[in-house]
Symmetry: C2
Subunit: 245 residues, 2 copies
DNA sequence: ACCTGAACACCGTTCAAGT
DNA sequence: ACCTGAACACCGTTCAAGT
């Protein structure tokens, strides 16, 4: 942005020593941004220290000046992605709907970034954006009259549910081999599983065989809303010793 | 078992060419058994094709005659572990309790085998023992009058919840560095997190700072029973249009 | 202070060659 | 049929050396 004047043509015979270095100086932000780009295009497994370094035109050792290691990089990626979660303005009258909307929003952001939910699953949130999400969840529940102990447990339980569902969701879509139509591939996988269940011995697995359609309906959204509904109703049931019902 | 006579002493000067091969012939069962032993002692990350092969006194290439690759090996490990889950004799009158007991039993078995739940999370159950567990869950709910569609969704949701909780649980215990007392290590980690939360800016995170104790209570069992209770009550609410209440 | 090359101790999987 | 050595194309992290 300082020495480069892209509006001027390169004078003849003036070749850069190395083919277009143009490298920005390494920063933590730049590393995390690059890592998220690799995540989005190729999935979490492709985000290796070496791959990120390569993308930045350097070697893996260079990253260690800005990031303590792979684990920290993954944590930083998660919090960067969490910044995309749109938080609601709490409206105490609508706390249950808002809690469900927020959960749906988190799931939307997670699934928009491949299998990033694997990083969230089973890690204590420490990044500022992740903490802001938890803060709003607590605020919604406290304003709705949920007792502190229950609200604390519920943040954990909701988080586990959202992460697990996002991971489950990406199993199908993310494992598509490159070059294949994701939906076509999914269809194939799906038929295979249905056929497998249908071929099971009916005497040992009468319920599974008899409920193949109910078990393999691929609607991830329906499963998510089902679980979310149950959880939020359950949380709400702790609001008062007995209200009007 | 055929050419070896262990009751006879080795004649003098008769040394085995290689130091005590004594190797059983490689079978899928032996490989899976060995892999689970490595899992139990060192965790899932330590279960590599090379490590399992080494444990069997051979090279990694030898395993590929009995197992298609690492993914299949992990699936086989999961189903072998699932064989330890004790299944109840369905008693329709107690279906809700039995469903909760079964979920608790699954969690017990998962956490007894380190982070095996990571394999379960987001994989469709196909092994015979895993299918037997799903079959009983469906049987319990169907006998309790849960509609098929709800029972199908509930098996998924319950499974996600159990896996997520088991993974969360092993975060603390399984990451203990070798040679350190797990509880001491956990204590330290825990104090660190509490201190971090307490030091957060109270104006941006009033609920988190104000609820540190509720948020960091380490009781995994309480969280599990809380979520389980909510889920099973939610499932039960679909039993009839309106019963006696 | 920041960056790097080279090295260390690992990975999963394939394949031609052996028995 | 089963097993193997060697190789291929990767890993995360460290460390002495450079600028």
């Amino acid at each position: 942005m300082d020495a480069v004047r892209p509006d001027m043509p390169t004078p003849p015979g003036r070749k850069p020593r190395r083919p277009a270095p143009a490298r920005q100086p390494l920063t933590q932000d730049l590393i995390v941004e690059t890592a998220v780009r690799v995540l989005d295009t190729e999935g979490l497994d492709a985000v290796t220290m070496r791959r990120v370094a390569q993308e930045l035109g350097t070697g893996p050792a260079s990253l260690y000046a800005h990031v303590s290691g792979k684990d920290e990089l993954r944590e930083l990626m998660l919090d960067r992605v969490a910044a995309e979660i749109r938080l609601p303005e709490p409206d105490p009258a609508r706390w249950q709907e808002q809690l469900k909307e927020l959960a749906t929003e988190i799931r939307r952001v997670w699934t928009a970034h491949r299998d990033i939910a694997k990083v969230s699953m089973g890690g204590i949130p420490t990044g500022p954006h992740l903490l802001a999400v938890a803060e709003v969840q607590l605020e919604l529940m406290r304003a709705g009259g949920v007792p502190p102990r229950i609200a604390g447990l519920a943040v954990d339980t909701l988080g586990m549910f959202i992460d697990a569902d996002a991971i489950e969701d990406t199993i199908y879509t993310a494992r598509t081999p490159p070059g294949e139509d994701p939906w076509e591939y999914f269809r194939g996988h799906f038929e295979e599983i249905t056929a497998y269940f249908r071929a099971l011995p009916a005497d040992r697995f009468p319920n599974i065989v008899g409920m193949v359609d109910e078990l393999t309906s691929p609607s991830g959204d329906e499963r998510f809303q089902f679980g979310l509904d149950i959880l939020v109703r359950g949380i709400a049931s702790y609001v008062a010793p007995r209200d009007g019902d």
